[in-house]
Amino acid sequence: MTHRRWLIAAIAVALTVAAPAAGQSPGARPELVWGGDAEGGAPFVAADPADPSRLVGFDVEVAQLLAEGLGRAARFQQVGFTSLDLAAARGDFDIGLSGIEDLPARRTRLAVTIPYYQFREVLTVREADAARYRSLADLRGRRVATLGATLAYELLAGAAATHGAVPVTYEDDVHPYSDLALGRVDAVLLDEVLAKRGVRRNAGLFNQAADVGAGTYVGILAMGNAALRDRIDELLRAAMRDGRLEAIFRRWEMWNDDQPRLYARLTTEAGQGQVQEGSRAVEVVAAPEEPSGWAAAARYLPALLRAAGITLVLSVLSMALAVALGTVIASGRVYGPAPVRVALTAWVEIVRGTPLLLQLFVLYFGLATVVQLPAFLAALIGLGLNYAAYESEIYRGALEAVPPGQLDAARTLGLSTWQTLTLVRAPQAFRLALAPMTNDFVALLKDSSLVSVITVVELTKQTSIFAANIGSWVIPGAMCAALYLSMSLPLARLARRVEKRWQR
């Protein structure tokens, strides 16, 4: 009892000491924690090229402006772009500012500020196609890249239904343009800020002038944080009136005639309800009405099943490649001459010692100037090569675990080295390797979710799109887990059955 009381006292002391340190250090100003994705880059949020420990961008300056108005110190919180909504709802930060678009779906789940910038969606094509692909209607059957969970994506999803364009979603806003230059996609639909940057960075691209749609950037807060949102709205209005926002956007060369019109409308209106009106007055293409819960689950099930099919096909083909290649590597390491053994060992250690994610990036984006692998093929090769390294280690271990007496028995009967390998050593090694191989296949099934970074939409990616759309991970997560299990459990069962048969 005494011990426990001491323990409780110690924890209480630790908490009282730690709490102010975690929240706001005593004496210092309270903080405004703002979330954004520094991977989004300039002009939104980016590391300062002169001092990478510092952040620059118009969103950084807007955050600074808001923090000053609130009498707080701005502190940046890095969150992946596609996770910003969920992080805001969780309260990971006070406000999210990262070129976040005002979508109807956001307003149902989050407290959204008044817009602080209006943009137009721009269709970017290769210069050679400028006359051919003028609008989404010209892109029937063509691959059009965009960023997931954006207004552009909603527009593109609509265009897929009406004009037959094929949407390809990316996790970032850099590779859609580089892939367009390489010919992997035929167009990119994103906001003009990104489009201008994309054309600047990649030679031979052209931004179509036609207006595809328009949207605005807003700040997002947790639903329960409406009071802070209202104060921030007032701060934004004040900054619109006194030209501080204009100064920020002029500095980033983003100021245009759309902004004064937007600001005039917002500053003349008063009150919460009209703010909503104001933002709606902007010509925004609304996302389709979203059902919730089980209705949504039923609607998404076919897409999830298709994605599960892609996961399964990709995993099976990758594993086949890994087994074939792993066998060759293992044989080389056991039977090969010294230089071959050294080279293969080095290869295995390099592949095992670097992240699969990096290997996928290098294969798909890094090698793109040399060889342009289609996304699915790059995913297959990436997973196959990576797992081949692990398989080869299993097979090598299994080959070496076959008792030397078995090999002596084969030799004394006159079997050649090759016959000894194929008739005696490999079949016995395979029995030893089966359990770890099954393990690896289940691991591969799950690791295949990483290929979404190179635009392959498999089960996990489809689930996260689903979750982002309905704003909850509960039902999509359960469905995703059930689908993974329905693939891995029968496999484990089959492996156990084969093992039992061998141990008969």
Partner: protein, 222 residues
């Protein structure tokens, strides 16, 4: 140096002729100046304490370990094109763990000697029957008793019709009754004209079956 296993050169009636054999292991001389010969239908026992070099001599004759010096001459086997080899029945049998008893027996005749599978299988059954384990043809190695595995291993060695059958400590895993049975089996093989060289430190077994005894100590023949 590879053992000289040409089919000619052995004196008349002698199937195996070993002269001045030397084997090194890790630079150390483990067998030196060993000479011995075995005639057709003869059973020679190589006896001596553990580490006296008996098994090493058998492995050298079987071609499993390289020799440092000396000559090993084996008379041609009855089998036509196949390489002339003395076949060694290893101490712990080492039946191929993933194959049935019968499959163990026909594997080498089919893959090494190019016999038809049906013919090799039929011959395998005859051999297993003769050694008294015909009823265990379908059993997997781990299902066999020590004595049964020993017999299947002998059948597997005989299936390639070797000029000399080498056996390393054949009684190691057998009880007294099985040991006597094995002695009878071995005598029967010799009576059929088989040539056997058996390494053993089991004096009762050796007395029960060997025609001649060669004693080894410290890597040399005494």
């Amino acid at each position: 140096m590879i053992p000289d296993q040409r089919g000619a050169g052995a004196p008349a009636g002698r199937v195996l002729e070993v002269s001045r054999l030397e084997v090194r292991r890790g630079g150390r001389l483990v067998v030196q100046d060993v000479s011995l010969s075995v005639g057709r239908g003869e059973i020679v026992a190589l006896i001596g304490a553990s580490g006296s070099g008996k098994s090493t001599v058998l492995r050298a004759i079987a071609g499993l370990d390289p020799i440092a010096a000396g000559r090993i001459i084996i008379e041609g086997s009855a089998d036509g094109g196949a390489p002339v080899r003395a076949t060694l029945v290893l101490q712990f049998h080492h039946l191929f763990a993933h194959l049935s008893a019968l499959h163990n027996v026909w594997l080498a005749p089919v893959h090494v000697h190019g016999r038809a599978r049906a013919e090799a299988e039929a011959q395998g059954r005859v051999l297993l029957d003769r050694l008294g384990v015909g009823h265990r043809a379908a059993a997997m190695p781990h299902e066999l008793s020590g004595g049964e595995a020993q017999r299947v291993a002998i059948a597997r060695a005989l299936a390639v019709d070797p000029p000399v059958l080498l056996m390393d400590e054949p009684t190691a895993s057998l009880d007294a009754a099985r040991r006597d049975e094995l002695a009878t089996t071995v005598r029967g093989l010799a009576a059929d004209g088989r040539t056997l060289l058996i390494a053993s430190h089991d004096s009762a077994f050796v007395e029960a079956c060997a025609h001649r005894i060669v004693v080894m100590e410290g890597g040399r023949v005494q």
